[in-house]
């Protein structure tokens, strides 16, 4: 596809296929065309040439308003309607789709629960009575209201502080796992991209530099640009993508095992932290069950295996 907004094309010759259920991150600095690319999907930006297919059907073949109602949309500025309550904001698309009142009310409460805002407390609040993080949770709930198969997110957590940002990211992963919604997520934050993505699409000047898994993008950057942008030589960053249970040795060699415990779902980055401040061997647990052990040597082995 191609989009010419000014003297040079903002998006040029991009071909992208995102499998259903994926969480694909469009990563690049400002001006790289990632937002423009995102906004061609729900046709907020008209394409000069090309096509976008959603479930085998071109978005250009359908009425633009109908297409948008099947695609969730979350933006950095949130854009909640200030004169409507939280519940009314969430209800806007179902209302346009002509849902019955009872169904809308039930769905609103269900969504508030999904984004972890207690319905009874938040339902009737106005947007100005929410914190930045709460507002974006409502923004996400509003976008998901009519169960869209695809969710577009344009730097959704860019305006909140780093702690809330990380928290919202984790919530998004949880929601993504729970619903299986395909998500296209725009960010310029490399760490955020690595935390969230199961695919990273690196953009530069409207073109795709690399389209790969986070680990491969880090370990095998396709170009110098990708390497510089992601800091691929930063091994610590890579550790953040590997799980402790995938690097451990099963069948603990000795008993009783190491005193320092770590959850198997934690990253090797967390594991390295624990090793640096604690014992030389970590016990990897899943709940109460010990799965195996982890040492510095295991981490080194995992790194070189991942790079291969």
């Amino acid at each position: 596809m191609r989009y010419e907004g000014g003297d040079r094309a903002a998006v040029d010759g991009v071909t992208l296929e995102v499998p259903a259920g994926a969480l694909a991150v469009l990563l690049g600095p400002s001006g790289s065309g990632k937002s423009t690319l995102l906004r061609t999907v729900n046709r907020l930006v008209p394409m000069s040439a090309g096509a976008v297919f959603l479930g085998g059907r071109s978005v250009l073949d359908e009425d633009v308003v109908q297409v948008r109602r099947r695609i969730g949309y979350v933006i950095q500025a949130v854009g909640l309607f200030p004169h409507l309550t939280v519940a009314q904001n969430i209800a806007i698309v179902p209302q346009l789709l002509g849902w019955e009142r009872a169904r809308i009310d039930a769905r609103t409460d269900e969504l508030l629960g999904l984004v972890r805002l207690e319905p009874a407390r938040y339902r009737n609040r106005l947007p100005r009575q929410l914190s930045g993080g709460e507002a974006q949770r409502v923004g996400v709930a509003r976008a998901l209201a009519a169960q869209p198969p695809l969710l577009l997110m344009d730097e959704p957590f860019g305006a909140v502080d780093p702690i809330v940002r990380q928290e919202l990211g984790e919530e998004l992963l949880r929601i993504h796992r729970a619903l299986g919604t395909t998500i296209l997520f725009v960010t310029h934050d490399v760490d955020e991209a690595l935390r969230l993505a199961d695919r990273i699409v690196v953009l530069r000047d409207g073109k795709v530099e690399q389209d790969d898994t986070p680990l491969r993008t880090l370990a095998h950057p396709a170009t110098r640009y990708v390497e510089d942008l992601l800091g691929g030589r930063d091994v610590i960053r890579r550790l953040g993508l590997l799980r402790a249970r995938d690097a451990m040795r099963t069948a603990p060699p000795e008993r009783p095992s190491a005193e320092t415990r770590i959850d198997g779902r934690e990253t090797l980055r967390d594991a390295l932290n624990a090793l640096l401040v604690g014992s030389d061997t970590l016990a990897v647990y899943d709940g109460d069950a010990e799965l195996g052990t982890l040492t510095f040597e295991d981490i080194r082995r995992a790194i070189s295996a991942a790079a291969a």
């Binding site: 948008r68 004169h83 806007i92 100005r128």
Partner: protein, 207 residues
């Protein structure tokens, strides 16, 4: 205030004329000003032309505006109505446009992105947010029209101005006082009422 007691019918009639002229003018003016304000808010170049033209009308002193319209519409209620509608446009159009422009682009982007049609976005998202500013224009225009309507007596359009001008010509201070106080109370009443409405709308949007 013997006049007040002895002529309640006449006063009520004139008050009624005054209200009718003001409200009819306001209703027509709003109906015209809304699309014009929308045009001004959406198209910068057309907006400059429209506001420029309206500003010329607005600059003409009210009495001169009446006089200019007499060759076209003759004397009477209709002439006054046209003058009032024309005069109110500047205030109303400017406020409709300013109100619509004050809506944060993010809420409009979100509305369009969620699948509201342009009309739905305007009615459900933009207008409610622009409402306090638009109502501010309605309030200012109403007060200005009440004042301008009191000059309508000069061109046989009736209203409380009749008492003022008749009283001045016939050295009848009671009529002058009743007419002037009537206009003043009407203006203050309208201002108070509409300010309350405006504040209510603003509280909903901005707190």
């Amino acid at each position: 205030m013997r006049f007040l007691a002895s002529h309640p019918g006449e006063i009520a009639l004139l008050l009624g004329q005054h209200l009718l002229l003001t409200l009819a003018a306001l209703a027509i003016a709003c109906a015209i000003a809304f699309p014009l304000g929308l045009l001004v808010a959406r198209h910068a170049r057309a907006g400059t032309v429209v506001l420029g033209a309206l500003n010329v009308v607005y600059t003409i002193p009210s009495l001169a505006l009446y006089a200019l319209l007499i060759p076209l519409f003759g004397l009477g209620f209709e002439t006054a109505l046209v003058a009032l509608v024309a005069y109110a446009q500047m205030i109303l159009v400017r406020n409709v446009a300013a109100g619509l422009r004050s809506v944060p682009p993010a809420t409009v982007d979100a509305a369009r992105g969620l699948g509201l049609s342009p009309t739905q976005a305007l009615l459900r998202v933009e207008l409610p947010q622009a409402l306090p500013v638009i109502l501010g224009g309605v309030r200012i225009a109403t007060v200005a029209l009440i004042a301008m309507a009191s000059l309508g007596a000069q061109i046989d359009a009736g209203g409380l101005g009749v008492l003022i001008f008749y009283g001045l010509q016939h050295n009848d201070p009671e009529r002058v006082v009743v007419g002037s106080l009537g206009c003043a109370l009407l203006a203050v009443g309208a201002e108070t009422l509409l300010r309350a409405v405006e504040r209510n709308a603003a509280r909903r949007v901005t707190g």
